[in-house]
């Protein structure tokens, strides 16, 4: 009975082209129960990702591979609840972290900052894999890197304060994005030239959705490296710096 109620979906053949929820069928004009429950389960996973925690120990161990100091920092948002309601606190380092940073202001071309953002799961799973491709590109160009920074309860703009502390010309913030239903593990990359507190979004370039099922590490590393070179050459980032790689004319 229930089987017959559900209209067979003629679009099944299109499913191979996208992870979007196409070809889910209908009963009347409504979504069939099986799909409705799958959606609820995905929402539950996303909610859980929001409350996941940065794996400081695991990341610190992996990052040893790059022979750079690794710092563990914390924003002024003491916990997840504060973090969600007070974005301003997530953009500033707490006192201990600001103090710790003082010993690392040796100057660098690039500061790399890894923050939990809205899904620690995303950076736990993707940050190291991207850096493994990016770091050799940087060293081939003889670019100098600052101490690697891990930040708990951090937002994108906390990278500005950190980059100033490291005296870096440019910052790359790898951060967990708002989890989607089919992507609780999506990582974003924000690049800022001449980072300093007070900047807003138009000063940054963003590459979104970095994860195996989204933008691959290979493509993300290529785009990031292109943006880094252009930003350093043209001494700017943000809306004035377009990703023109691949434009034919």
């Amino acid at each position: 009975m229930a089987e017959k109620l559900i209209k067979n979906d003629p679009l099944i053949s299109l499913k191979e082209f996208t992870a979007a929820r196409i070809a889910i069928g209908r009963t009347g004009t409504s979504i069939p129960l099986k799909e409705s429950l799958e959606f609820k389960l995905a929402h539950a996973h996303a909610r859980d990702a929001v409350y996941s925690e940065l794996d400081i120990e695991g990341l610190t161990n992996s990052l040893q591979a790059f022979n750079l100091p690794v710092l563990s920092l914390h924003s002024q948002a003491a916990n997840r609840h504060k973090y969600l309601k007070r974005p301003d606190l997530g953009r500033q380092l707490d006192e201990t972290s600001a103090e710790l940073l003082k010993d690392h202001g040796t100057g660098a071309d690039i500061a790399i900052i890894i923050a939990d953002g809205l899904s620690a799961t995303a950076v736990n799973e993707n940050a190291f894999s991207l850096l493994k491709l990016l770091m050799p590109m940087f060293s081939n160009e003889k670019l100098r890197l600052g101490s690697l920074c891990l930040v708990r309860q951090g937002r994108v703009a906390i990278g500005d304060e950190i980059a100033v502390g490291l005296r870096a010309k440019l910052s790359i913030v790898l951060i967990g994005e708002r989890p989607g239903l089919s992507s609780a593990d999506s990582m974003g990359m924000y690049l800022t030239y001449n980072p300093r507190p007070g900047l807003t979004d138009e000063s940054r370039n963003c590459i979104s959705n970095i994860r195996p099922e989204g933008l691959s590490y290979h493509l993300a590393a290529g785009k990031t490296f292109y943006l880094v070179q252009e930003a350093l050459k043209r001494k700017l980032s943000g809306v004035a710096l377009k990703d023109n790689a691949g434009l034919l004319d």
């Binding site: 209209k7 003629p10 679009l11 099944i12 053949s13 299109l14 499913k15 082209f17 996208t18 992870a19 979007a20 929820r21 196409i22 070809a23 889910i24 209908r26 009347g28 004009t29 409504s30 979504i31 799909e35 959606f39 609820k40 929402h43 996303a46 929001v50 969600l84 309601k85 007070r86 974005p87 301003d88 809205l118 994005e177 708002r178 989890p179 989607g180 239903l181 089919s182 992507s183 999506s186 807003t200 979004d201 138009e202 979104s208 959705n209 099922e213 989204g214 933008l215 493509l219 785009k223 943000g238 809306v239 377009k242 990703d243 023109n244 790689a245 691949g246 434009l247 034919l248 004319d249």
Partner: protein, 458 residues
């Protein structure tokens, strides 16, 4: 100075900006900004005081100084005194009662819209219950045209939003075909690109344009890149139907979006000059959302709902085809839960319609907000009753690129069914011709040999 006394306690509000903020229904963004009423009583005291403020006051007391903000200058300089005549003797409270009266019908509301400033609309909305916001908005009719006609009473449209995390053309095409077969896309087929690269944007524009041409679909397309990218492509003769931009309600907020009023004007003229509309010349598509000014630290102490309505003054200047309040996208620090999102959406829809804008709402939430699909069902139904021009249509309501939940193709069909609403007339005719819906608007079974499906596979 405004004040009201309750049981010997005198509530003082230093200026109009403070009064508006304190009178605003509770939401987390105003708390974050530190401008929210400090008690339930203070909020109602502010609302009672606000009710007695003459509408005329809004023409002389700006919430952000004329000298320091170009949106204020736009609001004041474009105010139409003749249109204002009908309501110029009213207070904010009297305005609320008049809006709900039978005298204020669709025709009269249309004649006064150019006399209403954003701050007047925001003020009166703060005195209204959700029911009032729905009842008045339902009386307004805002019709716009490009290749079809959107906003007619009894009609309800959708933006087909076929986003893909890597902008893969086949993946996007698959979602477009699915949407069309569910009767979605009459407001626009609008793609949010994953990156702002001009070559990607051009590819996507060409993809939709080819599909539209091949099946002769009376719709418009848009790739929601930054306006500088669209302008560059329009100047090179790319197939740009609509020019998109996110806008805010203060000069500083717009600067944070990388735009100015001059840049908007330049892009508006460039898009108009392409002359691609067949039944009308509304070529702009704007998105807004409460909290974006605070998010950019550009709110000047003005509450987030008033800031939002000021953005509508910017939109109004360019005669848009579509204005979309992306209400729940911004997150819980601005709109915490389903209740706040619902209230904000009804305010935005009402204020936009009152100012004469073709309002749609992205009925949505993010996964860090205290909301779920039940909240969206409620809001969807309320907005349908309120006469909202359009909502989003997304496969299974899950946007796999922007990582948030909105409304599905199925949701739009639910609303059309329970409220007896029809798509844009030109699009409905096309749907019938394609065998997608019957003459009564009912969805027909489609088999896999339908030419729209075989078209993408081959």
């Amino acid at each position: 100075m405004y004040k009201f006394t309750i049981r010997d306690k005198v509530y003082r509000f230093n200026d109009l900006k403070t009064l508006l903020a304190k009178a605003s229904p509770y939401r987390s963004g105003d708390v974050l900004a530190g401008i929210c009423a400090e008690s339930y009583e203070e909020r109602v005291a502010a609302q009672i005081a606000l009710a007695d403020v003459p509408l005329k006051t809004f023409l002389t007391e700006a919430v952000i100084p004329y000298e320091s903000d170009d949106v204020t200058r736009l609001i004041i300089d474009s105010h139409n005194d003749t249109a204002f005549t009908y309501i110029n003797s009213l207070t904010v409270g009297e305005f609320r009662d008049w809006l709900l009266s039978d005298e204020a019908d669709c025709g009269i509301l249309k004649t006064i819209e150019a006399g209403i400033t954003p701050e007047m609309a925001a003020a009166v909305s703060k005195l209204m219950r959700n029911q009032d916001l729905i009842a008045v908005a339902r009386k307004c009719e805002v019709v716009t045209r490009f290749r079809n006609t959107i906003g007619l009473k009894g009609h309800f449209s959708t933006r087909l939003q076929p986003n893909h995390p890597t902008d893969d053309p086949k993946g996007i095409a698959a979602s477009i075909i699915e949407g069309l077969l569910y009767g979605s896309g009459d407001a626009v087929i609008g793609i949010n690109p994953a990156t702002d690269s001009p070559s990607t944007v051009l590819n996507l524009l060409t993809l939709i344009d080819n599909l539209r041409g091949r099946f002769d679909i009376p719709i418009q397309s848009c790739v929601l890149s930054h306006i500088t990218t669209t302008l560059e492509l329009a100047n090179k003769g790319a197939p740009v139907d609509l020019c998109f931009q996110s806008i805010g309600g203060t000069e500083k907020a717009n600067k944070s979006f990388g735009i100015s009023l001059d840049l908007l004007e330049e892009a508006y003229q460039a898009t108009l000059s392409l002359n691609r509309g067949t039944v009308g010349k509304n070529v702009m598509y704007f998105e807004t959302g409460q909290g974006s000014e605070l998010s950019a630290n550009a709110h000047h102490g003005v509450d987030q709902q008033t800031c939002e309505v000021r953005a509508y003054a910017v939109a109004r200047k360019f005669k848009p085809l579509l204005v979309n309040s992306v209400v729940g996208f911004i997150g819980p620090e601005y709109l915490y839960d389903g209740k706040q999102i619902t209230r904000a959406a009804l305010e935005d829809h009402f204020c936009g319609k009152l100012l004469g804008l073709p309002m749609g709402v992205d009925i949505c939430y993010t996964n860090h907000a205290e909301a779920d699909q039940d909240d969206m069902d409620n809001l969807l139904t309320l907005l349908g009753v309120a006469g909202c021009n359009f909502i989003m249509g997304i496969p299974g309501s899950d946007d796999i690129m922007l990582n948030y939940q909105s409304t599905s193709f199925h949701d739009a069909l639910y609303l059309r069914k329970v409220l007896g609403l029809r798509p844009a007339p030109e699009f409905e005719q096309w749907l019938v011709k394609q065998g997608i819906v019957d003459e009564k608007g009912g969805l027909l079974p489609v088999n896999s040999s339908h030419k729209l499906i075989s078209g993408i596979i081959t």
